[in-house]
Subunit: 190 residues, 2 copies
């Protein structure tokens, strides 16, 4: 069976040394065989970790989180991105600066949706600077829940987010690790 | 096995005659047993319809579309909501007015993601005034793809979107049809 890395090698297009287009198989359009590859890998990694919930952030993380949640038979929650500063006492909120979109937003999750002492698996499509993941970790901390692991489909190793999270002591599993990209020479995997 | 309607009856909270909270089982937090109920119903309805792709719109449609796509073994695509008027020749775009959020946005999908003559199943969580569905239908028309059916998890019958779509000749399957809601007397299903 093919792994996510095989599909990234086959379908992803390098636009420049920073931007990888995965819109035809991993986000916007999501192929079922790619989802199945992700599901199998994540299930093997976390089937014994007593995960009680998966946490992701809209929008491209949702499909991946949903597929893994079905396989692990746990609920998933997605954080919304809110541009307004909410002071809503019913919501956990964490400020995130997006490197890709060059903006700042609040990741928000209803306080009724994550419980104390839950075992959370955080999942997203990309791990670059790690800002979105840090926002989701912050939300788990506010909920007094345990972060059992962080899964990214594609880690851009050179943007150091994965390094930062591992140094903070988190378990980070990236299904595909990109060391560098170049329009002419393509993707160099770790 | 329970159906979506059973879960709506059990978990949904009526905030007022217009707003139904489903954040603890259908969007924001999505329960796997609820997804499995949806999957089974949609699969029974469309397994023989030669669907080639599922189309939805961010954010709360994504998980549902993803789960159904896995079961039907077809790709899914989600439209993004863009507040800026894009004049991007690489995108299909349709204007949508949201009754819930009282705003207007463009639903956009890359032109490379839907092909001519594809058999599209449109899926979303709610069907109220039908504006979002009409936007997705418009995108399918621009792509010269066939709309084989429209699935909503919950149809608010009294907002007439379903009626409008059926009168236009579309097949509409709503897994749960709400005739009226009231804080004191609850949900009246069709």
């Amino acid at each position: 069976m093919y792994k996510l890395k095989d599909y990234v090698g086959k379908y992803a297009r390098v636009l420049n040394s920073d931007v990888l287009k995965v819109d035809t198989f991993l986000n916007f359009l999501v192929k079922p065989e790619v989802l199945n590859a992700i599901i199998e890998e994540v299930y093997d990694l976390y089937k014994d970790s007593k995960i009680t919930k998966i946490l992701t952030i809209e929008a491209s993380g949702i499909g991946i989180a949903c597929a893994c949640a079905l396989k692990l038979n746990v609920p998933f929650v997605f954080a919304k991105k809110s541009s307004s500063i909410t002071n809503n006492s019913n919501m956990f909120s964490a400020k995130v600066t997006s490197y890709t979109h060059q903006n700042t937003y609040n990741a928000i999750v209803g306080k009724n949706l994550i419980n104390e002492n839950e075992n959370i698996l955080i999942i997203d499509d990309f791990l670059a600077t790690g800002e979105a993941m840090l926002g989701l970790i912050d939300i788990c901390k506010q909920a007094h829940a345990n972060v059992c692991g962080i899964v990214s489909c594609i880690e851009k190793v050179y943007q150091n987010g994965g390094k930062k999270l591992r140094e903070l002591g988190y378990r980070v599993d990236s299904l595909c690790m990109i060391h560098s990209m170049d329009v002419n020479t393509g993707i160099k995997f770790d």
